[in-house]
């Protein structure tokens, strides 16, 4: 068996193309949902933390530290296999979506918080001195600056978390790795795994280009 037969067998490709395409869509929409809700939740948490009320900050910091410290896979396994023992049954894709969103939110919160606190205090003061409320300063002055400065790390985190959708294979989400894995087991060929790798390239190469564009577009000098 030569190399192409093992990794790019045309018959195997033809057989598994349709399920693989479906899997690509599953990976894409879970990733998109995770990135949108993770960015929004992370930004919201950073905003709440900016109020510097201990009863708000403390749970946020605890949440961010826990979510950054624990491997997402462990959390997914606990939710998916642990919760049914107390009568709570969650969809496989929902568990994947929820955990990845929370993990992304934790990192995003920390990224935003670090930038918001590193902006000159004068930015907060200039806003306050012109009669803007704390929330208005946060939304119109601090947040847009933090967002622009954070585009590279936010893009990186978003790409990383999107690739973690592969963890879904462990709990039965029909995403790329899961489908390719079953196909490999079924056919005894490595070709579905090659298809999986190509599928990730097809998804993430445009995502990389888009991220470069966004980084250039929002770059500004200080």
């Amino acid at each position: 068996m030569d190399f192409f037969d093992a990794f790019l067998n045309p018959e195997i490709i033809a057989t598994y193309l349709r399920p693989m395409v479906r899997a690509v869509w599953v990976t894409i929409w879970i990733s998109v949902l995770v990135v949108i809700s993770g960015l929004a939740l992370g930004a919201l948490l950073a905003g709440l933390r900016a109020y510097q009320k201990r009863w708000l900050s403390w749970p946020i910091v605890l949440f961010a530290d826990l979510m950054r410290a624990l491997p997402p896979l462990v959390l997914m396994l606990i939710l998916f296999f642990g919760l049914p023992s107390i009568g709570i049954i969650l969809n496989d894709w929902f568990v994947l979506y929820l955990i990845l969103t929370l993990v992304l939110a934790a990192f995003v919160e920390e990224i935003f918080w670090a930038t918001m606190t590193s902006l000159p205090r004068g930015q907060w003061e200039a806003g306050a001195a012109t009669g803007l409320s704390f929330l208005q300063v946060l939304v119109h002055v601090i947040f847009p600056q933090a967002l622009r400065m954070n585009i590279p790390p936010l893009v990186n985190r978003s790409l990383t978390i999107s690739k973690m959708t592969a963890y879904g294979s462990v709990i039965g989400v029909k995403e790329i790795v899961s489908v390719a894995g079953s196909a490999q087991a079924f056919s005894g060929s490595a070709t579905p795994l090659t298809m999986a790798a190509l599928a990730y390239l097809i998804i993430f190469f445009p995502a990389m280009l888009l991220s470069r564009y966004i980084e250039d577009r929002f770059h500004y000098e200080h």
């Binding site: 930015q123 012109t130 803007l132």
Partner: protein, 253 residues
């Protein structure tokens, strides 16, 4: 000064400020009348910037009272404070323009969000103010494209656009290259001509001599001496003021 005085535009009464154990301001009393330009001088660490920042509560006074047109700045809810701050314009040493917004948008933001003006009204007002500081042609420029002097003039326009009753200047020219100082001082001189009430903390002694109605000398957190510029500079009474003036005359005046 003997006749019954009108309501001061800004009145500071028995103002105290402590940072922990350090007393920064001690029993400060100051009245600023409508249209007056009061210049505050003193060595660094004398508390002059802190006093200015207490006036719009960027710094929280430990005790005392501050009134703008007879209305209290202290002991009011945050919403009311936001409204009061509209009447007190502030210009910072570091300009602090919003770097993500054009000059025009820097001037319209608070007009729209804090005053509730319409977009058209806010922009018209912003252009008028930018024109006043000589920068109407830079309305679409980003702060990073402006010189320090231009940035500071936009910052002045940003404060003026809210129709404040009094303007606070916190060392407005200290961060500027010497050749850019003049353009900012010119704007301040124009404002004075227009009757704006101003408190200026600055080391520009020339400007103080020429433009101030009254000069206040602070040292060690107290007002040591105050009077018309010719008195303060020409006939200083306290030893501390004499020492301060001889120190700065080496560089400036």
């Amino acid at each position: 000064m003997t006749a019954a005085q009108p309501l001061p535009t800004l009145e500071i009464t028995a103002l105290e400020k402590r940072f922990g154990e350090t007393q920064v301001l001690r029993s400060i009393d100051l009245k600023v009348q409508n249209g007056e330009l009061v210049f505050v001088i003193g060595p660094s660490g004398s508390g002059k910037s802190t006093m200015l920042r207490c006036c719009n509560r960027l710094e929280e006074p430990t005790s005392g009272a501050i009134h703008v047109n007879g209305k209290p700045m202290l002991g009011i809810p945050r919403k009311e404070l936001d409204r009061m701050r509209l009447q007190v314009g502030m210009v910072f040493q570091g300009f602090f323009l919003y770097p993500h917004l054009s000059a025009l948008k820097n001037v319209t933001l608070a007009q729209r969000k804090a005053l509730g003006r319409s977009k058209a009204e806010a922009e018209a007002r912003a252009l008028e103010m930018l024109d006043k500081v000589g920068l109407k042609h830079k309305a679409d420029a980003m702060p990073s494209e402006l010189s320090g002097g231009q940035q500071q003039r936009v910052a002045i326009a940003r404060a003026l656009a809210l129709d404040p009753k009094v303007m606070l200047f916190d060392e407005p020219t200290s961060a500027l290259d010497p050749e850019l100082v003049g353009s900012v001082l010119k704007v301040m001189r124009d404002l004075r001509e227009l009757g704006m009430t101003m408190i200026v903390v600055s080391h520009e002694m020339h400007f103080a001599r020429e433009a101030a109605d009254r000069v206040v000398f602070m040292d060690g957190g107290v007002i040591v001496e105050e009077g018309p510029p010719e008195e303060i500079f020409g006939n200083p009474k306290s030893d501390r003021l004499k020492a301060f003036l001889s120190r700065v005359s080496g560089e400036a005046a």
